[in-house]
């Protein structure tokens, strides 16, 4: 059994001595910007993350999530603005920032020719984790991530989900203050995604971690304490997921109707609600939809073919803020197209 005695932990990594007080945010970004040539990828974002929070950056691909995380992790210099992480400036105190954070990248960064334990030991050496703490910590994390039985297998024999779990374990090995996860579940199947989230939320409890993550999965963003919705390099909303959803004005009602335009007009005239029309389906937000709907159906003059009620999702929030849905955003389609073009023998079709 791995023991979890407090004194050992504080000895393990000396930067822990400088713990930001509860009132001081763990991450603070002010007007952080980054340009690549003429493209402004991040346009002056400001936010703070408190100790122990799970903070999410939600947005479509190409919205500036990875660029922001890279600046916070000192992998990319900001073009303008500033940020502090664990009380250290990301430009002038890079080494201190690096020691206080754990990082799980979007793309794999494991040495697949080495075993899980060898990868972890390398990390421990690189971060100067003392030997006494090291082996115990490796045991603890591999057990937690359910990889202990496979600890001496080459990483190339691991599945995608196992690799990602190993990377999370590695990111935590040196007892970081903050764990950065860039799209932690990208490309994993739903079951694995669910498990990864279970680990992440468990960890937060066990390690008193602050977690900063990016995702473009709506359901994952729901797990965050607070989320910043980012679109085209700007934060368009920042709050707790429930607050953002409640701000939409209640449940989402969808009606499939014969004459869409007439139905939209009728909703607007009778209830003062603005409905949107997509194909033959109109949708609008209303509080307590289960009571509202019977009343509407009793007297509605347009013919209703089907009805639906659901709690609003973060996608609805994104839609109402940007007029677009995250799921069918332009950049995703472009990326898929690019992948298609890069496949050998597919050039003709793509052109």
């Amino acid at each position: 059994m791995a023991s979890r005695e407090a004194p050992e932990r504080s000895e393990a990594v000396n930067h822990k001595q400088k713990t930001p007080s509860a009132s001081e945010p763990v991450i603070a970004a002010r007007e952080l910007s980054r340009s690549f040539g003429r493209t402004q990828a991040v346009k002056g974002v400001s936010f703070t993350v408190d100790e122990g929070e799970v903070f999410g950056f939600l947005g479509p691909n190409g919205a500036g999530k990875t660029t922001t995380i890279s600046m916070l992790c000192t992998l990319l210099a900001p073009s303008a603005g500033r940020a502090t992480v664990a009380g250290h400036d990301v430009i002038s105190e890079r080494a201190e920032v690096r020691r206080s954070i754990g990082l799980v990248f979007q793309d794999p960064t494991l040495d697949e020719y080495l075993t899980a334990v060898q990868n972890l030991r390398f990390h421990a050496y690189a971060y100067g984790v003392p030997k006494r703490v090291r082996e115990e910590r490796i045991h603890e994390l591999l057990t937690l991530m359910e990889l202990w039985d496979r600890r001496d297998s080459s990483v190339r024999e691991y599945s995608g989900g196992m690799k990602r779990r190993l990377e999370i374990a590695r990111g935590l090995l040196h007892h970081p203050h903050i764990l950065f996860l860039d799209e932690p579940t990208l490309g994993l199947d739903p079951q694995t995604r669910h498990r990864i989230w279970k680990y992440v939320l468990d960890l937060r409890e066990r390690e008193a971690l602050t977690i900063f993550l990016t995702t473009h999965y709506m359901d994952e963003a729901e797990n965050c304490d607070r989320i910043a919705i980012i679109d085209e390099g700007e934060i368009v909303a920042l709050d707790r997921p429930e607050v953002l959803k409640d701000a939409l004005g209640g449940d989402v009602v969808t009606l499939r109707v014969e004459e869409g335009d007439a139905a939209v007009a009728e909703i607007s005239a009778r209830y003062g609600l603005s409905a949107s029309l997509e194909a033959d389906t109109i949708s609008f937000n209303v509080p307590r939809a289960e009571e509202f709907l019977p009343e509407l159906m009793r007297s509605f003059s347009s013919k209703i073919l089907a009805v639906g009620i659901r709690r609003p999702t973060l996608d609805d929030v994104f839609l109402s803020l940007t007029g677009r849905s995250i799921r069918v955003d332009r950049s995703t389609t472009n990326q898929q197209l690019r992948r298609y073009v890069n496949t050998p023998g597919m050039k003709a079709q793509a052109n």
Binding site: L110, L114, A126, S154
Partner: protein, 271 residues
Amino acid sequence: MAGSVRGIWVIAYRELLRFVRERSRLASTLGMPIIFMIVFSEGLKRQIGVLAAGVDFVKFMYPGIIAMSVFINAIFSGLSVVWDREIGFLKEVLVSPLSRSGVVLGKALGASVIALFQALVMLALAPLFGISLSLEIVLELIPIVLVLSLSLAGFGLLIGSRMRSQQGFQVLIQMVVFPLTFLAGVFFPVNNVPRWMEIVSKLNPLTYGVDAIRRIFLADEISAGALASSHPIIGVTVFGHTTTTLEDVALVGVLGAALLMGAIFSFNRQV
């Protein structure tokens, strides 16, 4: 400073771990010079007679092959960087608190230890090729191999820090490293070749590395008279001056130090 030292050994440790875990690389690294040695010595020893009193072609070529394998292993440190970049592992290294100079020197040290190991394997096989060894030779060889391999690793790392694909690096090895190695006098004495080749060879820093290693083995066997001849088979004669071992090693070492500094500078500019 402590970070630098830790960086050197952590990175070197991984290079060695990788080397022993990759069976195919281990086999090809060890096998290549042995194959060269067997094929060339068997194939040419009847065609090429004695190069100088007491020195036949096998004796002449053997130190050259050691030098060649040291070069190739050292240059591979650059390939290791490109490989790390391709698999993403370089990111893990670059975002860690390890200093960049530590990373570069660690890669160089790892490659040097592998090169030294290779040289020692070749030494162990010396009796098979009829080469006589002495403790003195072994003790002289070790520091020289380290200086040469660290220098060549500097070259490999400088290139590797700029290259994005393994294929690109392989092309570089085929187009630049192999020709330079062959022109360094591994298989022939550079003092007695056509004028154009002599110029290219003597401008080639590797020539001095090959010569430094060859001198360890042959200096005692060759009489002063043979050395004073117009085309000595050891020593590189430039403007009438024939280099000594110390000069050979110093030349490669100074160049290597500059290349290593260039590689550190280049790594510092990344991320």
